[in-house]
C-alpha cells in the first residue's frame, strides 16, 4: 500500500506534476474509519456510555416497572377450636397459592393487623360463622376480604349461578419494558450521534488536529464520511445489543424485521449526525459544544416519548412534539419493533429525520470551520 518515495527532490528542482498514486482512492477514508474505531475502542468511558449505560438503564427501569405477580394476601387466623376448619377450606381452594394464612392468638392477630402486617383477620366463631375483621379504607384489606370469602365459600361448595370466562393481558408487547426498549434505542442513537460527531469534532478542533488534517491532501468529505460511517457501524452494535438484551432478559418479542429496524436506525443516526455537525460547526471549546448539545437534546428527552408516552402532553403541543426528530425516530422504531410495520409505512417519520438531518448538514457545511 505504501511505497518508498521514488525520487528525492534535487536542489533547485521545481516539480511539474503529481506523482502517480501509490495509495488508492479510499485508502485515506479506510484509515480514518479504522483510526476512529480504534480510538473509541481504547476509550473505556466511551464503551461504558455507549454500550453499558443503556443496558443498565433498561435493566433498572425494566425491573422497577415490571408487572409484578399478584401480591400474596397475608391474613391472620385467630387460633380457636374451629380454626383448623378454615385452614382446611383454604387449603382446598383454587386460590390457595395467593393466600398466606397465619395461625395466631387473638391479641397477636389484632396487633399484626393494626401494623399492616396482615390484610385481614379471620375468626371462625360458634355456629361456623366466619367473622372478618377488615379496614375498608385499605384497598388490600378490601381485596383480601373478597378473595378469602370467595375462596372459603367456593371450597365449602358454593355454586356460581352465572358461568364466567377470563383472559389475561400481560403478554410480551404491551408491557412497559416493550415500550421502553425502542425508546432507549432511539435515545441512544441520538446521544451517540450528537456526542460522537459534535463533541468529537470540537475536541479535534480544540487540539488543532482538524487544522493539521486539512494541511494534508486528505479529502474533507472523506473525513466527514469516515465519522458518519464509524457512527453507523457502532449504531448497528448498539441496536443489536439493546434488542438482544430485551429479548434475552425480558423475553421481549421483536415483531419487525431486523433489516427494517437497522435501516430506521441508520436514517436516525445520519439525521442526528447532521444535527451534531451543525452544533459543532463553529464552537472552539468543548465546554461550549457540550452545553449546546445538551440544549438541543433536552427537549427531546422530555417530549419525544423515550420513557413515557408523549400522548400525556396537551393536545395543542402534539404537532410540535411530532416534528421533533427523536419523536419520529422513536415512533418509527416502536412501529417496527412492536407491530412489525414495514419500512415503507414509515415514510413520513423518516422524512422528518431526513429533513432535520439534511437542513442541518447544509447549514453545517456553510458555517463549518476547519481551523
Amino acid at each position: 500500500m505504501m511505497n518508498i518515495g521514488q525520487t528525492t527532490p534535487q536542489m533547485g528542482e521545481i516539480p511539474t506534476r503529481l506523482a502517480p498514486p501509490a495509495n488508492g482512492r479510499w485508502t485515506g477514508f479506510t484509515h480514518l474509519v479504522m483510526a476512529r474505531l480504534k480510538e473509541l475502542k481504547r476509550e473505556p468511558e466511551v464503551i461504558f456510555w455507549v454500550f453499558v449505560f443503556p443496558l443498565l438503564l433498561a435493566l433498572g427501569l425494566g425491573i422497577a416497572f415490571r408487572k409484578k405477580p399478584a401480591d400474596v394476601i397475608s391474613i391472620a387466623i385467630v387460633n380457636g377450636p374451629r380454626a383448623q376448619q378454615a385452614l382446611d377450606l383454604l387449603q382446598r381452594s383454587a386460590q390457595k397459592s395467593a393466600i398466606h394464612p397465619n395461625l395466631l392468638s387473638q391479641a397477636q392477630a389484632a396487633r399484626g393487623f393494626r401494623l399492616g402486617k396482615y390484610d385481614l383477620v379471620v375468626e371462625v366463631r360458634d355456629g361456623n360463622t366466619i367473622h372478618y375483621l377488615f379496614d375498608p379504607s385499605r384497598p388490600e384489606s378490601l381485596l383480601a376480604k373478597a378473595q378469602v370469602d370467595d375462596a372459603l365459600q367456593t371450597a365449602a361448595g358454593r355454586q356460581n349461578p352465572l358461568p364466567t370466562s377470563t383472559a389475561i393481558s400481560s403478554e410480551p408487547g404491551s408491557r412497559y419494558i416493550d415500550f421502553l426498549i425502542p425508546g432507549l434505542i432511539g435515545m441512544n442513537v441520538m446521544n451517540a450521534a450528537m456526542w460522537g460527531i459534535g463533541f468529537a469534532i470540537v475536541e479535534m478542533r480544540q487540539r488543532k488536529l482538524l487544522k493539521r488534517l486539512v494541511a494534508t491532501p486528505m479529502r474533507r468529505s472523506d473525513f466527514l464520511a469516515a465519522l458518519a460511517s464509524s457512527r453507523l457501524l457502532l449504531m448497528i452494535t448498539e441496536v443489536a445489543l439493546l434488542l438482544g438484551f430485551g429479548v434475552l432478559v425480558f423475553h421481549m418479542r421483536v415483531v419487525g424485521s431486523l433489516l427494517t429496524i437497522l435501516l430506521i436506525g441508520a436514517v436516525g443516526a445520519l439525521g442526528f449526525a447532521g444535527i451534531g455537525l451543525l452544533t459543532a460547526s463553529r464552537a472552539q471549546k468543548i465546554e461550549s459544544v457540550s452545553g449546546l448539545i445538551n440544549v438541543v437534546m433536552m427537549p427531546m428527552w422530555i417530549f419525544s416519548g423515550v420513557f413515557f408516552s408523549y400522548e400525556r402532553f396537551p393536545t395543542v403541543i402534539q404537532p410540535l412534539i411530532k416534528i421533533l426528530p427523536l419523536t419520529a425516530l422513536n415512533d418509527a422504531l416502536r412501529a417496527s419493533i412492536l407491530e412489525g410495520s414495514p419500512f415503507a409505512a414509515q415514510t413520513g417519520r423518516l422524512l422528518v429525520l431526513v429533513i432535520w438531518g439534511g437542513v442541518s448538514f447544509g447549514f453545517a457545511l456553510k458555517w463549518f470551520r476547519w481551523t
Binding site: 505504501m2 506534476r17 506523482a19 502517480p20 494541511a215
Partner: protein
C-alpha cells in the same frame, strides 16, 4: 536559482483591527533552510500559516513551487510537509498507526518503517501517542510531516519547550531532509537554532521583516563582530559617563542594562586599551569586563531595543 517559496507584500488584519502581518515579502530558494526569527506575537505563525494555505491573507501573493493556493491546492498539499505549533495528535493511537494514517492521505508516501527509523521512533512504534515524552511527540509531529515525501517542509517552532538533546535530534532530522534536497521554512525564537540551522533568515517584528540575510552576514552587518561588556564603580551609566563610552575608538553602539554597559565594537584590540585608560582617567575602578562574539540576540536588540525572549 528559482524560488521554491515566494510571497509578496503579505498582509493580514484580524477582525479589521489587529494587523498581524504588515507587508511582508520573502523568497526562499529551493534546497534552502530559511528561518523566521522573532519574538512571540511578531507575526511568524500568521505568516507561515498563510504560506501553508491554512489562513487567507488580507492581501498579497503566495507562490510555492510555481503554484498558488487558489489554482493548485491539491498539488501543493501533496508537496508540502507541515508541522503546526502545538498539534495534539490522538493520544489513543499508536505511533505507527498515526504515521500510517497520515501516510494514507498522500499519493506517494514513504514507508512508515523508514520514517520511524529516520526519526528514531522505531522503539516507540507500538506505544500510544499519549505516553510519549515532549521530544518524542515533537519528532512524531515532524514524522507526520515527512511521511508524505514533501518537497517543502514548514515547521512552526519545532523545538519550543524541548530539552537540549531533543532539540539537537530535531536539528539533525531537519538537516537530513535538507541534504536530500528539501526546502525548509521554520520559525523560531531561539537564536542558536537560527544561527546553526538556517542558511538564511529574516528577523520579524510587528509583522514586518526588519532584517534579512545569512546569520553571519546579519551579525557582521548589524551586530558588529564583538561585544565588550563591563561595569565600573560608581554610576557607570550616568549621563556624562555614557558619552565617554560612546566616544571610545571603534565603538559602534552603546547599551546599558542595570549598570552593565555593552559596547558593540569591530576591533576590540583598539577599544579595550582606550576603555581602560578612560576608566582610570575618570577615577573609577573596573569591576567586571568580558568580551564575546556578537550573536543574533545582539542584532535583535540593536534593531528593536528589546530582547527576543521577553514580550
Amino acid at each position: 536559482m528559482p524560488f521554491a517559496v515566494e510571497c509578496r507584500d503579505l498582509r493580514k488584519t484580524y477582525d479589521g483591527k489587529v494587523q498581524a502581518v504588515r507587508g511582508l515579502s520573502l523568497g526562499i530558494g529551493a534546497g534552502e533552510c530559511f528561518g523566521l526569527l522573532g519574538p512571540n506575537g511578531a507575526g511568524k505563525t500568521t505568516t507561515i500559516e498563510i504560506l501553508e494555505g491554512l489562513l487567507q491573507p488580507t492581501s498579497g501573493e503566495v507562490t510555492i513551487l510555481g503554484r498558488t493556493w487558489q489554482e493548485n491546492p491539491r498539488e501543493l498539499r501533496e508537496w508540502l510537509g507541515i508541522s503546526l505549533q502545538e498539534t495534539r495528535l490522538s493520544e489513543k493511537l499508536m505511533v505507527r498507526e498515526t504515521i500510517e494514517l497520515f501516510a494514507s492521505f498522500y499519493r506517494q508516501p514513504s514507508s512508515a518503517d523508514e520514517v520511524l527509523r529516520e526519526l528514531q521512533l522505531a522503539e516507540k512504534a507500538d506505544a500510544w501517542v499519549g505516553k510519549l515524552s515532549g521530544g518524542q511527540r515533537q519528532r512524531l509531529a515532524v514524522a507526520t510531516a515527512l511521511v508524505g515525501n514533501p518537497k517543502v517542509l514548514f515547521l512552526d517552532e519545532p523545538t519550543t519547550g524541548l530539552d537540549p538533546q531533543s532539540r539537537r535530534q530535531l536539528w539533525d532530522i531537519i538537516r537530513g531532509f535538507q541534504r536530500k534536497g528539501g526546502t525548509v521554512l521554520l520559525t523560531t525564537h531561539y537564536m542558536d537554532e537560527a544561527e546553526r540551522l538556517c542558511d538564511r533568515l529574516a528577523i520579524v517584528d510587528h509583522g514586518q521583516i526588519i532584517a534579512e540575510g545569512t546569520p553571519s552576514d546579519l551579525i557582521a552587518r548589524l551586530g558588529g563582530h564583538h561585544v565588550v561588556e563591563f561595569e565600573v564603580s560608581g554610576n557607570s551609566t550616568r549621563d556624562g559617563a555614557m558619552d565617554h563610552w560612546r566616544e571610545l575608538p571603534g565603538v559602534e553602539a552603546v547599551r546599558h542594562d542595570d549598570g552593565l554597559v555593552s559596547l558593540t565594537v569591530r576591533e576590540p584590540h583598539l577599544t579595550i586599551p582606550a576603555l581602560l585608560a578612560a576608566v582610570e582617567q575618570l577615577g573609577r575602578v573596573l569591576q567586571h569586563l568580558t568580551t564575546r562574539q556578537a550573536s543574533l540576540e545582539d542584532v535583535f536588540v540593536r534593531l528593536t531595543g528589546r530582547h527576543l525572549r521577553e514580550d
